[in-house]
């Protein structure tokens, strides 16, 4: 087992870097969202409804 900053076998920890860190964070959040019970589907459905209904709610151009 390895302890402290010195690794007896010379195996250095590999920091993930910006891309790696973003990837692991995104994976975790997506996993939580998908397994959390319809979180992302609910948000997508809401946005879809908003996109479809907003032009209808705004109505036609009164100038025409």
């Amino acid at each position: 087992m390895r302890f402290g900053p010195r690794d007896p076998e010379g195996v250095e920890p590999r920091p993930p870097g910006l891309r790696g860190a973003t990837r692991v964070l995104l994976e975790r959040e997506l996993d939580l969202a998908w397994n959390g019970g319809g979180g992302p589907l609910l948000a997508c459905g809401f946005l879809l409804c908003l996109t479809v209904l907003l032009p209808l709610a705004a109505g036609g151009d009164p100038g025409r």
């Binding site: 302890f3 402290g4 900053p5 195996v11 250095e12 920890p13 692991v24 939580l32």
Partner: protein
């Protein structure tokens, strides 16, 4: 690699209240120090200031390498420092295996990281359980896994032993001893004595 931490003329405030003023303290590789003091004396705030999470009112927090050269504080904090606070930093809807893997991936680790953490803190029987099913002590052991899974020089620990039972207090004490033997540094806020040789920095009562 961090070989020394030095605090000079440090003052930290929370809101309008100054927690402590003109604090001078140093810690070298292989040394541990405990922060003691009443509730609200500023132990947690000092740890958070060293970790870069709060800005001191005055003074300097510096990190040095083995030759005494100053290190870039952001680099030293980002790559060489662990902060284990009151919150375990775990998502309750995921399994212990997933969370341990995430912590080690996020912080950077050797190929042995996860296995070492599992061995050090007896996590094998917990790996497939959701974090929400774990007791406070089991969650703390899982959170401690990152200390071993992703080796870093400076451990900042806030009441690390509080939820642990006697068996795991002994196991964690052994981990701390091995960390110090490998030139690590430990700064821990405690109410109970730490079971390793450590200097004491008493922040006193409410200022």
């Amino acid at each position: 690699m961090i070989h020394a931490l030095s605090l000079s003329g440090l003052s930290v405030a929370r809101g309008e209240r100054v927690l402590f003023r003109n604090l001078d303290f140093g810690l070298k590789a292989g040394e541990a120090a405990v922060l003691t003091g009443a509730n609200g004396a500023g132990k947690t705030s000092l740890l958070r200031a060293v970790a870069g999470l709060i800005r001191p009112e005055a003074g300097e927090i510096a990190f040095h390498d083995g030759d005494g050269n100053p290190l870039d504080p952001a680099e030293a904090r980002g790559r060489e420092t662990h902060l284990l606070g009151h919150q375990d930093g775990l998502k309750t809807g995921r399994t212990a295996r997933q969370e341990l893997g995430f912590q080690c991936d996020w912080l950077g680790h050797t190929q042995y990281g996860v296995d070492d953490a599992v061995e050090a803190f007896g996590l094998k029987p917990l790996l497939d359980l959701e974090v929400r099913r774990l007791s406070a002590g089991q969650r703390r052991r899982l959170a401690m896994g990152r200390l071993v899974g992703s080796p870093r020089a400076l451990w900042l620990l806030d009441e690390p032993m509080a939820p642990l039972d006697a068996r795991w207090r002994d196991a964690f004490a052994a981990c701390m001893r091995r960390h110090l033997q490998a030139d690590g540094l430990i700064l821990a806020a405690v109410h109970d004595p730490l079971p390793i040789p450590a200097r004491t920095l008493d922040l006193g009562g409410l200022s």
